[in-house]
Amino acid sequence: MIRLSNISKSFNHNLALSEITMEFPASKTSVLIGPSGCGKSTLIKIIVGLIKPNRGKIYIDKIEVTSQNIQEFRRKIGYVIQEGGLFPHLTAKENVTLLASYCQWKEQNINQRLEELADLTKISFNLLSSYPAQLSGGQRQRISLMRALMLDPDLLLLDEPLGALDPMIRYNLQTDLDGIFKKLNKTVLMVTHDLAEAKYFGDHIILMNQGKVIQQGKFEHFLLNPAEEFVREFIQAQRGFSTR
């Protein structure tokens, strides 16, 4: 479980996040949604320590994250970004197993885990010897997910993981991802700008705008009880959802 307490961040005097306090419940999928520049990606980067907040604290399982223990936490967090962030000079397999080798896993355990994950993410085993440049966008995201899951982390952070994929591939991957989340029962925090995706995944949806949380809860609440005019506009802007 993650708790954010009073997080503020500004870039060159532009406020990106303003006093964010919230919790992401354990074993649930939370979705951060909002227009570009609302601060959702900044928030997720603050959690993994890529960006230092100006103020505020982060607690993971009730322990405050500090610069001393951040490395330890990072190894318990799986992180997937839009373009996969795969290391282009390493094969798919090397990408996935890099961290396990670093943690001195036995060869046998590594291979066993690799098989499990290939199975889970529906990656055929022979693709693992390919380099990222030889893979399709969808395959890259699946490999990236394998890498994130390798050490069986408690927490999975996904920053627009499907944002760069074309609709068919995206649809398939959404279905598979949902299956994986349900099966693994992990705490998941996903960032998206797509309302349909948020609805599909989100046990808990958090709508942000201009560095603030506007409304959070189940999707239906957003339709039935929009907290302010912005919520109605945001929903309307994504065709196919009607507030009426």
Binding site: G49, F73, G85, P88, H89, L90, L99, Y102
Partner: protein, 506 residues
């Protein structure tokens, strides 16, 4: 913990590098008797004669020829980088020891002794400075004496660089005779004759023993107001030679009072005008006057090429290896600490702007002459391209990949080793390639301070106006640069990770 590890790696590394340099700087060659000579023909011939004379006693005598000008030779003698070299009394009094205002021979010897240096008796000829011009022009303008030059302020002077700023050179000559000419160019003595021939210049400075005076039928202007003093040729040698190698010294000093003006002019002409080597001419002299037959093996072209190639490769390989070892970590440091980076890139950038010749000469007081100072100067030149390319290779890693690697939670060292450096290899290699090519070219200048290499035939070729000899250095140097380029292209195929090459093909 991670920070500490990083620091530890860094200090181990600094130790290794320091050790590398210390071992280079303090590596001692065998105790040889080294005879130096300046980079003009007469000095090389005298050096060669002294060398062969010494060799008659001991195999340990070597000739380090064409070492540049007076300052370099004198300082090398003081530092014991050389033991003996031919010099001229006027130069010693007017230039080397000018601030001592020496009057008379006894005072001269006393002053030299205070530096641990001794002077032989004169070798037998006087090679004074003079001003000369084409005979027909002199007759047309009716010029006989230096003082006559006052009448023609538009005459163009082409003077050797050393003469231009010597204590007994142009500035004082101009004052002494009250000469009006300001149109004075500095150039190499061997090129001056050609400049005169092509009418690019009207007046040059001469050495009175130059064989070209007769060959080109030049008019030597009379020093009617007695500005130039005597320049008797002598040998300067270190006093400690008397202790270490008295027999060799004694034999070399047999040369005292044996070479008169005519002999010297003839020998200069044999080398400069008729293309004999200094070795041959020196050998001929010793045979004729001392009945010493020294075995002269004229080196074959291939043997010379081998030896210059080895010298050149030593200069390039050591300096480049050291530069790679130091630059890559400095590039990494620059990337991780922007402040330090600015300082590092700034300082190495300054090295790059120092003219190569100047940098080589700056090294002499620190490291003497020979390969060491050349290697160090080349090393300094090779730093910037590698540091800059390491830095930019790391900076160019896309943000998404950098963030993905940070988030893994691995140590900084592992991140560098497994991810950042492999991704920057292409850029780093390109930097090393640039350095290598610059290095190979610049190393030809090393010959000026006795480092050998492809610069040696180029230097001799310029001195003797011998294009074939110049090409003997220039062509291999160009080929070596091309080979280096090819090797690095090949190396790129091996070192740059396969995944990156696939990426760039797609």
């Amino acid at each position: 913990m991670r920070k500490r590890q990083y620091t530890r790696y860094f200090s181990i590394y600094i130790l290794l590098v320091s050790f590398f340099w210390i071992s280079i700087i303090y590596s001692e060659e065998d105790r040889l008797i080294k005879i130096g000579s300046k980079k003009f023909t007469e000095s090389v011939i005298l050096g060669e004669i002294a060398t062969q004379m010494g060799k008659n006693i001991s195999e340990k005598v070597i000739h380090i020829k064409e070492l540049g000008g007076t300052r370099i030779l004198w300082n090398s003698l003081l530092r014991a980088d050389i033991d003996i070299y031919p010099e001229y009394t006027g130069t010693i009094i007017q230039e080397i020891l000018a601030e001592h205002h020496i009057q008379g021979e006894i005072e001269l010897e006393k002053t030299l002794k205070s530096f641990g240096i001794q002077m032989s008796k004169p070798l037998g000829f006087n090679n004074t400075y003079a001003l000369g011009m084409k005979r027909d022009l002199a007759e047309k303008l009716d010029l006989k004496n230096i003082s006559d030059l006052k009448r023609y302020p538009d005459l163009k002077f082409g003077l050797t660089n050393e003469f231009l700023d010597r204590g007994d050179g142009w500035p004082h000559l101009k004052k002494h005779y009250n000469l009006p000419q300001d149109n004075v160019r500095g150039l190499d003595h061997d090129l001056a004759y050609r400049g005169l021939e092509s009418d690019a210049i009207d007046i040059i400075d001469l050495y009175s023993t130059d064989a070209e005076i007769e060959y080109y039928d030049l008019k030597v202007l009379s020093d009617d107001q007695k500005f130039f003093t005597d320049y008797k040729a002598v040998l300067l040698y270190r006093s400690d030679l008397q202790k270490h190698n008295p027999r060799v010294l004694k034999n070399i000093l047999k040369l005292e009072d044996t070479i008169n003006e005519f002999i010297m002019i003839e020998m200069n002409g044999q080398v400069k005008l008729y293309g004999l080597s200094e070795k041959q001419v020196a050998g001929e002299f010793l045979k004729r006057y001392f009945n010493i037959v020294s075995p002269i093996q004229q080196d074959t072209f291939l043997k010379r090429l081998m030896s210059t190639t080895i010298d050149h490769l030593i200069l390039v390989l050591i300096s480049l290896t050291a530069a790679i070892l130091i630059s890559i970590p400095l590039g990494i440091l620059s990337f991780h600490h922007k402040k330090a980076g600015q300082i590092i890139l700034g300082i190495t950038g300054i090295f790059q702007t120092i003219p190569s010749l100047a940098l080589l000469v700056f090294m002499i007081p620190l490291l003497g002459i020979g390969a060491k100072p050349a290697i160090f100067a080349l090393f300094l030149y090779s730093l910037l391209p590698i540091i800059r390319n390491t830095y930019s290779g790391l900076s160019d890693i896309p943000n998404s990949i950098r963030e993905s690697s940070v988030v893994l939670g691995i140590s900084t060292i592992t991140r560098l080793r497994r991810i950042e450096i492999p991704l920057a290899t292409r850029s780093i290699l390109a930097g090393i390639k640039t350095s290598a090519v610059i290095n190979i070219g610049t190393a030809t200048l090393g010959a000026l301070i006795g480092a050998g290499g492809y610069g040696q035939p180029i230097l001799t070729g310029i001195r003797l106006d011998n294009t074939t000899l110049i090409l003997e250095g220039a062509i291999p140097a160009a080929c070596l640069a091309l080979i280096a380029q090819g090797l690095f292209d090949l190396l790129e195929l091996i070192i740059v990770p396969k995944g990156l090459r696939i990426g760039s093909e797609a």
